[in-house]
């Protein structure tokens, strides 16, 4: 169990590391160019991994809905935007606000699609996230 806990935690560390490196690359190039390099390097690495591990094209690939292929272009905007943000507001704010957006849009999407869930937990979680966001950009010298 502990190795898996460490693996899942390391995955989060690597997301942070990638965001930091993309941000650094965007300082010398542009946010969009950083996003391009992120994608092509990842694509090459995953292609090599597919050769080593096999099984890339297994499954029921003919029946994939076309909209499911939009994740790539959306990801390009996502990486460009987060590279642009991290050089301006720092890693902590970028990370926290992206998590906030992901969670709240996730709740909205779940509710639209009728995914069952505990309403009290949803309201409490959303309130904590919105409260944290409000705190994050309150002016430093504002009267308490």
């Amino acid at each position: 169990m502990i190795p898996f806990v460490l693996m899942a935690f390391t995955a989060g560390l690597l997301i942070g590391l990638s965001r930091q490196l993309n941000g650094r690359l965007s300082l010398s190039t542009s946010a969009m160019e950083a996003s391009f390099w992120n994608h092509i390097v990842g694509a090459i690495f995953l292609t090599l991994a597919a050769f080593a591990l096999g099984g890339l094209f297994e499954g029921d690939l003919e029946n994939i809905p076309l909209w499911a292929y939009l994740g790539g272009p959306i990801g390009v905007i996502f990486i460009a935007a987060s590279s642009w943000l991290i050089t301006r507001i720092g890693a902590v704010s970028t990370t926290m606000l992206i998590i906030a957006g992901q969670m709240i849009f996730g709740i909205l999407l779940d509710m639209i699609r009728g995914v069952p869930g505990d309403l009290t937990i949803r309201i409490l979680g959303t309130a904590l996230i919105l409260g944290g966001m409000w705190l994050l950009h309150r002016p430093a010298k504002a009267a308490a």
């Binding site: 898996f4 693996m7 899942a8 935690f9 995955a11 989060g12 690597l14 997301i15 942070g16 590391l17 990638s18 930091q20 490196l21 941000g23 690359l25 965007s26 300082l27 010398s28 190039t29 542009s30 391009f36 390097v41 990842g42 995953l46 591990l53 094209f57 297994e58 499954g59 292929y69 994740g71 790539g72 990801g75 390009v76 996502f78 943000l85 720092g90 890693a91 902590v92 704010s93 970028t94 990370t95 606000l97 992206i98 998590i99 906030a100 957006g101 992901q102 969670m103 849009f105 709740i107 069952p116 505990d118 937990i121 409490l124 959303t126 409260g131 944290g132 994050l136 950009h137 309150r138």
Partner: protein, 150 residues
């Protein structure tokens, strides 16, 4: 280290893009392997990024070449998929994998800002920033671990 509202809004909407990617890439994983569900968006993303670069032709910020290690972010992203696709099938499941992933991101971002890792500016989080971080993280963990979905 307060954040201007415009940046907050952009970062918040950027997080919404991630929700859409979880949906699209998760759907790919229903029909194909987890490797396939990460390989496809990297390949189509490369093509999309090339097209956008060809149209917008953004200027390079500096004539100096960036350090070579700055190009390696994509490897980190690819490794992330391998790790999470392994842990998602254990008793951690998707919720445990996401929760630990959030914790990893937060720890890294704190360390990155305090030390100014990899050539980005140093920022010391204030007590208020840390309170905000605690609230957003606990709200997110509550939704992931007890919300019954995500």
């Amino acid at each position: 280290m307060t954040t201007a509202p415009l940046y907050s809004l952009i970062a918040f909407l950027t997080g919404g893009l991630l929700t859409l990617m979880v949906l699209t890439n998760g759907t790919l994983a229903v029909y194909g392997t987890l490797l396939f569900s990460s390989w496809v968006p990297h390949v189509t993303g490369t093509v999309a990024a090339l097209a956008i670069l060809a149209v917008l032709k953004p200027k390079r910020a500096k004539p100096l070449r960036p350090p070579l290690w700055a190009y390696l972010a994509g490897v980190g992203g690819a490794f992330t998929v391998m790790l999470t696709s392994a842990t998602v099938n254990t008793s951690l499941a998707l919720s445990g994998t996401i929760a630990l992933g959030l914790a990893g991101q937060v720890v890294f971002s704190l360390f990155a800002d305090i030390r100014g890792l990899f050539g980005l500016p140093k920022k010391r989080p204030s007590a208020r920033d840390l309170t905000a971080l605690g609230m957003i993280l606990s709200g997110a963990l509550l939704l992931v671990l007890m919300g019954g979905s995500q």
